[in-house]
Symmetry: D2
């Protein structure tokens, strides 16, 4: 931490800042300039609140040197991480991984139809919600465990992997019976008790960025999982809340190259939630791949008009097929395959 | 729902929109104007996704008529609600309720000192965290159940009530043994499994607005609790995330009069989290009362410099006492007492 | 406009709303449903304030049917507009137009070096600032008219067009002597006196989106120019202000497909200002093209380390050349050339 | 400026950063810690771009020590500024100054009626727009110079001062003939050519915060005026753009105490634009005064239903009178009179 004292800070104020820093466990390097005294505070502690020093009298500004996360930082694994999801499917390597499927599992026939279609188009990971966090208590809340059963059996039939959301830590053991990748939804990004429990499992976790989470907060949430021992974390940008309301959220495409610089974890994009409108999904899927995303999470439905949730942002099969063709043209421009 | 067709929408498109609406369970009133055909869709259903109609070809815009929440709406109880927290303490009436205490319970002596001090100044509700949701896994996570025990016994000694946070639904039964009011933190505002369980209890719930939640989303979360049968919900504005970073969050003072217009539920303000800086707490506490808040949630610590969490936003006892005096001058301007 | 009355609105309230609407010049279609009365207000007026009706007693909600802009709307020219910038250069057609150059013109040698380099790489439009709006009065404010002279002569030498910013309406006649395209900066997007004057010229205007402007506001600003008679408007997305501060702004890539749906005007992207960091420019330039942008505005400098302004977001020549190669691979995926 | 090098930065990288800093005109203090080397860069220059250093290889983070503004900073006048608007009216002292009037001047009778009414209630400053920046080119654009004449004569009749907006620098000489205080609207906060010209006059300037301007940007705009020699600047908080759309803008009440800490300039609040809805104006006016505002800017109309602009946010005379009574009760709590 670097602490800059105000112009004209008294020696007494400086001493008080120093002693506060030492109480916090830091070693101090003092440097006295013409106008400002600057204190370098060095120590092993990663957890402290810079505001504790900011409010000391005579202090002008405080700069945290080290990121508050460690295991999730690029420095921890400069070469980048590749997260294995299952046989032949890994995120973070040369191959861009497409995960697709309906918003909600709605029945055996529906999920089988979609899985069949997607596997034909080369999709290896089937997404689908069984437990649905909905803003309204009156909305369809998902099929629950039965939904997971149906998704697992469809995936097995077509040799696909399954990714599905877990809503709280009590569901983890049950959900693990069915899925290959456990998804943490945007609203749960800071459900710390859930994250801690996911740190104890070994299956990969798909961690979605909260709707108003900074990238630092996203990495701190990843750190919760990793500090428990589970390093298999895949991040997902899915749109942030801004003042613009034409699209449901604003997909922050720049989060992709930023995360790739500050973290070693793979990052994928979810343009379905990121835009909330079917006609905006293909351009934003293309943009995400062109920006370097390690994968995509896409909602596809055999009959979006009749979908029980989020039909408006689900692609028609023909749209999805066309999109896959476009993505195959773009991937080489970023040295990838799809 | 009102559906406005585009200028030049064909009769076929209009028929398709009508049949889609009828599939969704609505009765249709059609009105044909010079340029636009307008469809009024009437029905009992509160849960539908307006985007499903927005994407039908020929549709220009869709307006949802009824709010998506019902029990939380002003119309449900036009006279407003008064929520009883315990003997002699109710939120939503003439009396402005001040809830104060440390961010975290840190030990028997600390909580006793603070409770003693606050009760002398007329505070009837003691706040304090035992389970702390922290952005970093390396931060102090609270004393847990022992913290609740200490807070309960200090509160009993000084005839105060206790409000404290529950982090997930598994903690509810245990927490209920100690507290009078269960707090749901901002990060949990959309933890629906938690909200559903809180709908089954009878003790009052203090529901904090999420850092980027719209007021409609806040009321939908209240609706989750109320639709389970627990109508004792108190809302809390605690700052939203904006582009301005000088203060930690931006306390949305206008949320107070807005909520009072669209909902019958009482609303209090938390200027400690709303600003994140001790010196900004008194002005924003005064502003909240002047805007009509039904109560305040304030962090006060006997020794903020040594606080284990959020010391930077905790008031010194003398500051708090001075603030109470100012608030007593302001309350009559809004027809209240404090 | 559609006006929805509250449940239980009295006949008197309904009549008052109707007479208010008629005062505003609308014809009224009344439709009485089981719970709500809905008033359709039809009329030629494009300018009214929906809040005037919202506050009438008994009114629940108001929906504006027609967009507040007309000339800028897609409906005005469903086939889309192609804006000619100069001989052989048009925005909005099959060809993606790259405009590149330094942030500021700094001297004859600098601008000649850059123009020479860019023209070799196929760039036909030279950008460069002569009048610089800077947040600080102590920052370099640009070379002024002399900068325009230097840019013009470099552009002529290499057969390029010139785009440069005008800061207020008094500068228009002078600037027109030198440039082919007049740029309106983000901070001036709502400088209406400037926009009105630009409506009277015939040269194309490059209108940048304000840092917190909604897309509707951007189109209303275009409408100011177009309603004066100048239809040669090219829009530019250059990043919006959000809570995320890692990048200087958040480039709203989804604005590209949204604008293309609601307006006929071409839209280009400026990833240099949109990210503020050189290393994020190539991924976001690729993303913009993949999302369908009609062009790019890019800062390139022969020696960014020594640039007098915005060096941090200027590409090195080698980076720019590599990027052009990548863009040529992506363009066919969206049916374009570059 | 403090520059923190990355862990493991090479000596060569450190030397390159040092030489870059020296090129920028700084003296360097180097401090070598266990993990990080920290460079303190000291110098008189106030204008530099920290990104120039951030992108040097091996640099981890950069902290600007001194604020980029100087004349507007609290340090420049620790005792605070009082700005004299005219005989007996000063902002920044014990007296809270209320400026009130219609959004637009609409005619002789209207402005006379309102001025008469307000002066009776103790208002000494009459506000009113003659030149109106409107988002739509089809909206009423104000009466222009004639409006200023009418406002001046009404103000003289009732011994009031006049505050009115100037839209660009060409209007300054004419506007100065009529007004006592020149207002710069939110959309013009970064119209630097206008600000520079206002630096050359001596009449006070009311500078409104842009809808998405940080407080640092607001003070930099004040610095533009002050660096020209005009220190009579009054700041105005008028609502910022956030994700919440129930109110037109979110009045950032906390900006009041923040500005009072970091600047010596007086700050007033405009709850009319800050909320956009008449019924929210009184609570937010009370909140602003309770938070310590030096004044208020309020829209009042004798017949808001018929107002040519912003009627929805204009108070009825009776509402305004009631509000004044409430404010008189609150003012003593902050040691002020009204």
């Amino acid at each position: 931490m670097v602490v800059v004292m105000q112009e004209g800070a008294t020696e007494e104020q400086i001493q008080r800042a120093i002693s506060k820093l030492m109480d916090m466990g830091f070693d101090i390097h003092r440097s006295t300039g013409a106008n400002h005294t600057v204190l370098g505070a060095v120590g092993a502690k990663r957890d402290f609140d810079t505001r504790d020093i900011e409010l000391v009298e005579g202090v002008e500004e405080v700069l945290r040197i080290s990121a508050p996360y460690k295991l999730a930082s690029r420095a921890f694994r400069p070469e980048g991480s590749i997260v294995y999801l299952g046989p032949g499917v890994a995120v973070g390597g040369k191959q861009i991984v497409v995960m697709a499927g309906p918003c909600s599992v709605e029945g055996a026939e529906q999920i089988d139809t979609i899985a069949s279609l997607l596997s034909t188009l080369g999709v290896r990971v089937l997404r689908g919600g069984a437990f649905k966090p909905r803003s309204s208590p009156y909305s369809f809340q998902g099929m629950g465990q039965q939904g997971l059963e149906l998704m697992r059996s469809a995936a097995d039939k077509y040799k696909m992997l399954v990714v599905s959301e877990v809503m709280d830590q009590t569901q983890i053991p049950m959900v693990l019976d069915y899925v290959d990748v456990v998804q943490v939804g945007a609203r749960n990004m800071q459900n710390y008790n859930l994250l801690k429990e996911l740190g104890k499992i070994s299956k990969p976790v798909l961690l979605k960025r909260g709707i108003s989470a900074t990238l630092e907060e996203l990495l701190l949430s990843a750190e919760y999982i990793m500090s428990g021992g589970n390093y298999n974390v895949v991040l997902c940008e899915r749109g942030i809340r801004t003042f613009e309301s034409y699209t449901r959220n604003t997909l922050d495409v720049s989060a992709i190259p930023v995360i790739q610089k500050i973290s070693h974890l793979p990052i994928i994009a979810d343009p379905s939630h990121g835009t909330g409108r079917r006609d905006k999904v293909p351009p934003m899927a293309r943009a995400s791949v062109a920006a370097g995303a390690d994968g995509l999470l896409l909602e596809v439905h055999n009959d979006p008009e009749k979908a029980l949730s989020d039909g408006a942002q689900s692609l028609y099969p023909a749209q999805f097929e066309k999109l896959m063709g476009e993505l195959r043209m773009i991937a080489p421009a970023v040295g990838r395959t799809i």
